[in-house]
């Protein structure tokens, strides 16, 4: 058996350039876990595309990454089809129970007392009276059996039901020409989506999973469920909704995650 001699790639640079960026990113690489690899990989990968920038300058790198993320947001918004439906699936494919995820571990979930919980409303809304869980349960339900896609690389088929968000916003006199719908959650998580995504036919305020009331780890009593965003945009344990034209950074966007996150 002959021994194959490995030759250097034709695209290998004749000499390495400034290795400062590798040293500065060493901590990202050494702190190795799946999420870290995704974040670290994104940073290192994006650095290779920063032409004309001094990649050893962190502020320049961050500005470059933010610019790319904003560009991504704009492109995704431009190609978004407001009436195009995501694929749906059969009940036999639904994963029960669904997969839990949050920015903390399962043991740190803090259940909400549904008897005293109220959904607060704010911003460009005519009727801002708070809603109890029971009042929301009495609204007409829409069922979605769709694929939940996580930015971490996993997915599952889930079955959610609850009032359609467009119908809810219309009923409370929300300004449907506003730019954002902002969600504030009980665990201080915040998220917002663009109005066209909020008005998409497959965006609901979910109160149930697989026909049963949501349980504590999955956002009881109210969560967002949209077929047109990545999983982390689907806020759980919602306690307030605001309709606004003012963009405020959200939990994940402050940490560099893409804000639009369309699928």
């Amino acid at each position: 058996m002959s021994i194959r001699i490995r030759t250097a790639s034709l695209f290998r640079p004749p000499a390495w350039g400034d290795c400062t960026v590798i040293k500065e990113s060493r901590s990202l690489v050494e702190d190795f876990n799946r999420r870290g690899v995704l974040r670290g990989g994104l940073t290192l990968g994006a650095l290779t595309l920063l032409t004309g920038c001094d990649v050893s300058e962190n502020e320049s790198v961050q500005n470059g990454l933010r610019a790319v993320s904003s560009w991504n947001d704009g492109v995704q918004a431009a190609i978004f089809r407001p009436n195009h439906l995501a694929p749906t699936f059969s009940p036999s494919q639904v994963v029960k129970p669904p997969r839990f995820n949050a920015y903390y571990d399962i043991e740190e979930v803090k259940p909400i007392d549904g008897a005293t919980w109220k959904l607060e409303l704010a911003g460009l809304i005519k009727n801002k009276r708070p809603w109890t869980a029971q009042q929301i349960y009495e609204l007409p339900e829409q069922e979605l059996i769709i694929r939940h896609i996580c930015v971490e690389g996993w997915d599952y088929i889930g079955q959610w039901s609850g009032p359609n968000l467009r119908a809810f916003l219309t009923g409370i006199g929300a300004d449907l020409t506003a730019r954002y719908v902002y969600f504030i959650c009980n665990d201080d998580f915040t998220e917002s989506i663009d109005m066209p995504s909020a008005l998409h036919p497959q965006t609901i305020l979910a109160t149930k999973y697989a026909g049963a009331v949501l349980t504590d780890p999955f956002g009881y009593p109210l969560r967002l469920r949209t077929a047109v965003k990545l999983g982390y945009k689907n806020a759980k344990w919602i306690r307030a909704i605001e309709v606004t034209n003012t963009f405020r950074p959200t939990f994940w966007s402050k940490q560099g995650e893409n804000w639009f996150a369309g699928i």
């Binding site: 995820n101 571990d105 399962i106």
Partner: protein
């Protein structure tokens, strides 16, 4: 998991430092006396869930209950992979059984070769966490799988596919 340990230690250290730097009652509403200051310091040193206290480890059943057990159909659990905390496959679920003592055990075909060519071992329900279409061995490390006796399945009742068990959740 090591990263999570470092983060917990770091967060406890930060809490301790913050507590030690509290200078006025306005900054710390509970800090009104030297005794209360000691209470704040002590509280800052307790891990959030008490689950990492190696001096007084929380019993496995208590840890299981803190992970919000959910109903899961036995038929949906058969065939699922069981992963260790590094997301390496330990084996695949073959059966779910009830012992004469009433304990629920998952019979896993365990192998040190990512689930291939394995032998049957019994894993307590309380040691596992469910992550969608996979299980994580939260409280039974790979060394215990390697040391576990071969499961022979005597005097147990296999649960039927449409039976329901309460499985803890995991986020690994």
């Amino acid at each position: 998991m090591e990263c999570a340990n470092r983060m917990r230690v770091a967060s406890s250290a930060l809490a301790l430092t913050a507590a030690m730097n509290l200078a006025s009652p306005a900054a710390a509403p509970t800090l009104v006396s030297a005794d209360n200051r000691l209470v704040v310091l002590a509280q800052a040193m307790v891990p959030p869930t008490g689950m990492m206290d190696t001096q007084h480890p929380m019993p496995m059943n208590e840890r299981y209950l803190k992970r919000f057990p959910q109903d899961a159909r036995v038929g949906d659990l058969i065939g699922l992979p069981v992963l260790d905390l590094s997301s390496s496959t330990l084996g695949y679920v073959q059966q779910v059984v009830r012992t004469p003592a009433g304990e629920i055990k998952f019979i896993v075909k365990y192998s040190g070769w990512w689930g291939w060519f394995g032998r049957l071992v019994a894993v307590p329900l309380e040691a596992l966490g469910l992550e969608g279409r996979q299980l994580v061995s939260l409280d039974m490390p790979p060394s215990e799988y390697a040391a576990a006796p071969i499961w022979h399945g005597t005097e147990v009742t296999p649960l039927p596919a449409d039976a329901t068990v309460r499985v803890a959740l995991a986020r690994n």
